[in-house]
């Protein structure tokens, strides 16, 4: 094909031609490796997100029982309705309805009780408390099913599995089928997932406590890290003399950015908890630790957006007689602000997902309820994920994936905000 390009010698042309096929094969192979590498990254992301979705989407649904309960006056003390053993009462009524006689050890009623969540007790108790006239009547009580019963209805616990390998007995399966046939079982949106704190009962556990804990923590982090980080960046970029001190500070910042996060956890434990005696597991300590971690990132991001402001702006302001400080605060910083805020939001999103340091400052302990101040013990979203992943109940696994979805959703919102900010206000010089 290239014979017209007159080769100097026939030999040279032949060699060129001969190698060509091999070289192009190598070229294609190399390109394929590149595509494969990208395929690995993209494929893994798809796998990861897909897996989290398939594992976690069921957690947003829950099965609850709406059962008619005869509020037996013989068992309920109107003065102290909370003291009543409603689950046992309901279990016995259901056994009677299904025609099952309990044995002396009460095994059947125990198994029946296990179908319902312990929440049944509080739901019924609250109903009586609100309206004592219900005693002696039959009312419909709506309460979640236990985690295992819920998993059974979701198909996570198979009927075909041998009985000793599943947490629901054959007898319970029979009862659950009857309850469903009788229309007592409803599939509803699992609102508790978003409205309650952590619990040892999977069916009652929610992420609210952790979300609030993370939010309080991020508040502390943002209030500390953003002003300090921006100020430090301004000094380094605009005021620092080129001397050993500023060089030393720079080296420090670069190294801090690469210090493993768990080391910050050790710092928090030793400095804030053991030395300063700040409250363990509190958003205050968590926020302080995350602030120190986020600082280098914010400084680096701020510096790069300050650098992007062209020197001509500074020169123009200085030439008009503005002082150095006025130039920086009235002209340079406002122009750099979109970039600064973008960097700050991204580093906050990163801090939101940080886990390791939280484990060391006590955020692995079980904290029910929702914190109302930065000094109270609380969980945080990432540490909640860690705790739930470690839990032995299988129902926590789907909730872990659901909590991950909540965490990722929050991070996506923050990153999207940063992108919008950048798109809207970014200026190219």
């Amino acid at each position: 094909m290239t014979d017209a390009l007159a080769p100097t010698t026939a030999d040279r042309a032949a060699r060129l031609q001969k190698g060509l096929r091999r070289r192009y094969a190598r070229e294609r192979r190399f390109q394929l490796y590149g595509l494969l590498a990208i395929g690995v990254a993209v494929g893994f992301l798809v796998l990861l997100l897909g897996r989290i979705w398939t594992q976690g989407n069921t957690a947003f649904w829950a099965h609850e029982a709406a059962i008619p309960v005869y509020m037996d006056p013989a068992r309920i003390d109107p003065a102290y309705p909370q003291g009543t053993n409603f689950p046992q009462m309901v279990a016995e009524q259901q056994l009677a309805r299904l025609g099952v006689t309990d044995d002396a050890a009460g095994r059947a009623s125990t198994e029946m009780r296990q179908i319902f969540s312990s929440e049944l007790k509080f739901v019924a108790g609250d109903m009586i408390k609100a309206d004592p006239s219900l005693i002696g009547r039959t009312v419909t009580v709506t309460a979640p099913l236990s985690d295992d019963a819920d998993l059974f209805f979701k198909g996570e616990i198979g009927r075909d599995t041998p009985e000793e390998q599943r947490r629901v007995t054959d007898r319970q399966i029979g009862w659950l089928d009857r309850l469903q046939d009788d229309g007592f079982v409803k599939r509803t949106f699992n609102g508790r997932m978003f409205t309650s704190g952590d619990s040892t009962e999977p069916e009652l556990a929610g992420v609210l406590g952790a979300v609030v804990g993370s939010a309080l923590m991020l508040l502390v982090t943002a209030l500390l890290a953003i002003p300090i980080g921006v100020a430090a960046a301004i000094w380094l970029e605009e005021f620092a003399p080129r001397n050993r001190l500023s060089a030393f500070i720079e080296v420090n910042i670069n190294n801090l950015a690469a210090v493993p996060s768990i080391v910050y956890g050790l710092l928090g434990l030793a400095l804030f908890i053991n030395w300063m005696q700040l409250p363990r597991s509190s958003p205050l300590v968590g926020g302080l630790v995350l602030a120190l971690m986020a600082l280098p990132t914010i400084i680096i991001a701020t510096r790069s957006s300050l650098k992007a402001v062209p020197p001509s702006i500074r020169e123009a302001a200085l030439a008009l007689g503005a002082s150095k400080t006025q130039t920086v605060f009235q002209h340079v910083l406002p122009l750099a602000l979109p970039g600064v805020m973008t960097g700050a939001i991204i580093s906050m999103a990163h801090a939101l997902g940080e886990t390791a340091p939280l484990l060391l400052i006590g955020m692995v302990s079980f904290v029910p309820g929702v914190a109302t101040s930065v000094a109270e013990p609380t969980g945080a979203l990432p540490s909640l994920i860690y705790i739930w992943e470690n839990a032995s109940e299988r129902a926590f696994h789907e909730r872990t994936a659901a909590a991950i979805m909540v965490l990722l959703a929050l991070m996506i919102v923050m990153n999207a905000a940063a992108i919008v900010l950048r798109r809207r206000f970014e200026r190219r010089w």
Partner: protein
């Protein structure tokens, strides 16, 4: 005997069409057959008042046969057109200089000759460029083989961060031109000798090429280019980063290489063009304004713009 080797829009109508294919007694095959260069184009601009003197026979050095023939070459970078319908013939065994103010398209055109514009995603080349009668932009021409045929030297010396030896051996290695180590050693030595660098580097062939001086680096790059035995060498302002002494050496080298290669050199220095080239083409605003024997261009240009440029009124 008339020499009308160089053609452009400006001198398209300059003479009798029958004379066009003839040069130096060498008859170009099929010159009439390519479309853009056909009589229709001539008919558009039937006469050109300034063309007259160019047709006068001038004393000129013997030139080789036409090596590269370009017709209506245009280049777009995205929406911007960088080169407008350039048609030119470039003879073999001759140094041809492209001159013109910066941004005039001379480097762009040079990069068309070995299809380096392929490496720029937004670049689009139209028109026809023939090398020995073969369209270089045709699908059947492999840019890899084309570039083995057409060496290139850049503005800034760009030796690879390897040893001097490895730099020169790069081309023969990738193209598989040598079969043995001894063979390769021979090619390296021959190329370095031809580039006039052998005596300076023979004792440190394995030290890094980036450690040489600017002028030596540029000669190393030339040695690297001729190691694959190309037929054409393109030089894109090869001396602009060098001091006068190094420049003199490179110019001397170019003059020596002329005997074996078709050399095209882009330069912003008119003095350099006058010193090293036999043919000169003047580019302005993305168009080829005028081509001719170097002496003719510098002493008696046909175009006003050429005169203004060489006398320093702009550029």
């Amino acid at each position: 005997m008339k020499f009308n080797i160089f053609r452009s829009h400006d001198d398209r109508g300059s003479g009798d069409p029958t004379q066009t294919p003839r040069m130096g007694g060498h008859v170009l095959p099929a010159a009439r057959s390519d479309g853009p260069d056909g009589p229709t184009a001539d008919a558009v601009e039937p006469t050109d008042a300034t063309a007259g003197p160019a047709l006068q026979p001038r004393p000129a050095e013997p030139l080789g046969p036409i090596k590269i023939r370009a017709r209506d070459v245009s280049v777009h970078y995205g929406d911007k057109q960088a080169l407008h319908d350039v048609s030119v013939d470039i003879p073999d065994k001759t140094v041809t200089a492209f001159i013109g103010p910066s941004g005039c398209g001379k480097s762009t055109f040079l990069r068309c000759l070995n299809r380096m514009n392929d490496t720029i995603p937004s670049a689009r080349v139209t028109g026809r460029i023939e090398m020995d009668g073969q369209d270089v932009n045709s699908k059947s021409v492999d840019p890899v083989l084309l570039r083995a045929q057409v060496g290139m030297v850049f503005q800034k010396p760009n030796p690879f961060p390897k040893s001097i030896y490895e730099n020169v051996a790069y081309g023969p290695r990738i193209h598989g031109l040598t079969t043995s180590k001894a063979d390769l050693d021979g090619v390296v030595e021959k190329s370095l000798r031809r580039a006039g660098l052998w005596d300076e580097v023979a004792d440190r062939l394995h030290s890094p090429g980036t450690g040489l001086s600017g002028g030596q680096q540029q000669r190393l790059v030339i040695a690297r280019a001729i190691a694959v035995e190309p037929e054409v060498i393109l030089m894109d302002e090869p001396c602009s980063a060098l001091d006068p002494i190094a420049t003199a050496k490179i110019e001397e080298l170019i003059d020596e290489l002329r005997e074996q290669y078709c050399i095209v050199i882009v330069t912003h220095s008119m003095a350099q063009a006058a010193r090293v080239s036999q043919r000169t083409a003047f580019f302005h605003m993305g168009r080829l304004v005028e081509t001719g024997n170097t002496e003719e261009i510098f002493t008696n240009p046909r175009e006003r713009r050429t005169l203004d440029y060489i006398t320093g009124r702009f550029g």
